[in-house]
């Protein structure tokens, strides 16, 4: 009696799980698929030649690339220090570097404006020298660095922590200074995690919307990145908006696949 009951219960459970899974997958894929269904290939290709689309594409790639480089340059030493050294205030540093992940982008944008805007805490002094950051391409990069840096720093720190200290100790006894150990042992062994962190950070920078529109504004060719261009064009030229969206979908897919490939453990 109990045997057949168990079989029945298991079958019901399997069916239920499968149904939940199918429903959820449909919820995720249907909207994405709809983007592809609502535009003809010809319309897609022709909107790729429109200036608003081309400007947004190149601006997005250049700014996201630059902000990723900045994040990696500053974030790598920071992550390494936090992974390896215990110092007073380390928890605080960790919390602060994580903050942009949970901070709403609109708040980040306003905060950047209050700091570096024309009348901002720092910006008012820069203004005296004729330097303006708000509503420039630099502001786009700064907004991206602000929101995307935690994605790299968190991943980098975790990858450094996963490197066995024994290798670093052995390297020291063989004559390597702490700097050489970092460059020749720790960073190479954490490489996969660092690359995937950088890719995630790049993807986050590419998708940045809220902080950018508040701090950098929405000027075509100067601060109008792809997400901003989607928002702008959908009010008139829906094809351009969909085309840009499709490009971002493809990039997102590529990013996830790339991260999966580089994080496959080699050692």
């Amino acid at each position: 009696m109990s045997g057949s009951q168990t079989v029945l219960r298991r079958a019901v459970l399997t069916l239920l799980t499968a149904a939940l899974l199918a429903l959820f997958l449909l919820f995720i894929t249907l909207p994405v698929a709809s983007l592809f269904l609502k535009i003809s290939p010809e319309a897609f290709l022709s909107s790729l030649t429109e200036p608003v689309v081309l400007d947004a594409l190149s601006l997005s790639f250049v700014t996201a690339m630059v902000s990723t480089v900045i994040v990696v340059l500053f974030g790598t030493p920071l992550a390494l220090v936090n992974a390896r050294y215990d110092y007073r205030g380390r928890e605080l540093v960790d919390t602060l570097t994580d903050l942009p992940i949970v901070l709403p982008p609109a708040v980040a944008g306003l905060a950047l404006l209050m700091a570096f805007g024309r009348r901002g805490v720092v910006g008012q002094y820069l203004d005296l020298f004729g330097i303006q950051i708000g509503f420039t391409t630099l502001a786009v990069v700064m907004a991206q660095v602000f929101v995307a840096s935690p994605f790299y720093i968190r991943q980098a720190r975790a990858s450094f922590e996963a490197v066995d200290r024994l290798y670093e100790d052995a390297a020291r006894t063989l004559g390597a200074s702490p700097g050489t150990v970092a460059l020749r042992i720790t960073i190479p062994l954490a490489w996969g995690g660092l690359v995937s962190g950088a890719i995630l950070s790049f993807a986050r920078a590419l998708g940045e919307f809220g902080a950018t529109i508040m701090f950098a504004g929405n000027f075509q060719g100067k601060t109008q990145t792809m997400p901003l261009a989607i928002y702008t064009t959908m009010q008139g030229d829906m094809n351009a908006a969909i085309s840009l969206s499709i490009i971002l979908v493809v990039i997102s897919f590529a990013v996830i696949s790339a991260v999966k490939i580089v994080t496959r453990r080699k050692y």
Partner: protein, 236 residues
Amino acid sequence: MLSIHTVRKLRDYVLDVTLSVRPGETLVLIGENGSGKSTVLNLISGILTPDAGEVTLGDRTLFSSERKINIPPENRKIGHLFQSYALFPHMTVAENVAFGLRCRKVPKAGIADAVAEQLSTMHLDDLSDVNVGRLSGGQRQRVALARALVLDPELLLLDEPLAAVDMRAQAPMRKELHDQIRNAGIPCIVVTHTLRDALELGDRLCLLEEGRVVADGTPGEVLSMRENGFIESFTG
């Protein structure tokens, strides 16, 4: 000549060890797990810093709490073999052996020659370009030893050098290791938990209990202390 006096507070006890090893002499450290054997090696090579004490090697003072000297591990010229060998997994055999020479900024040609020579004396020539992940326990041990010896260290610290070697290969490896140590002609400390290592490698035997040296003498002397519980189980 290596002389050490080191004190360091550990989790369960205070390690307080005084030892000296002459050039060409091999001291074997034995004792229960957690008696502080590996810690002593780490304190000598500089991976750990003593709370107090002094470490001298030849005429160099490597550490002195009184004189505030603490030479960093990379400048101590000590070959330290770890229990798991710690071969760098992202490098080939030759790259592992070359690592220390590259850190010392030896010219490229000099590195290649020294590495080739070291690999050949240790019968590793065929494995030169192999990634260390593919090596057997015995091969790993030889690569780790080659990586340390190529730098002409002034002291050799070996932590369980044969533990990761196949049982069958242990006897010939032990003999080979014995010869290598003899040829190096420098002080050597071996940590082990096997009687064979202690008898065949050691000129002197030192028994550690909770961070203290409780016996120090020739293998015959120390191993005859049958009243000691560890020695009884070690020889039994």
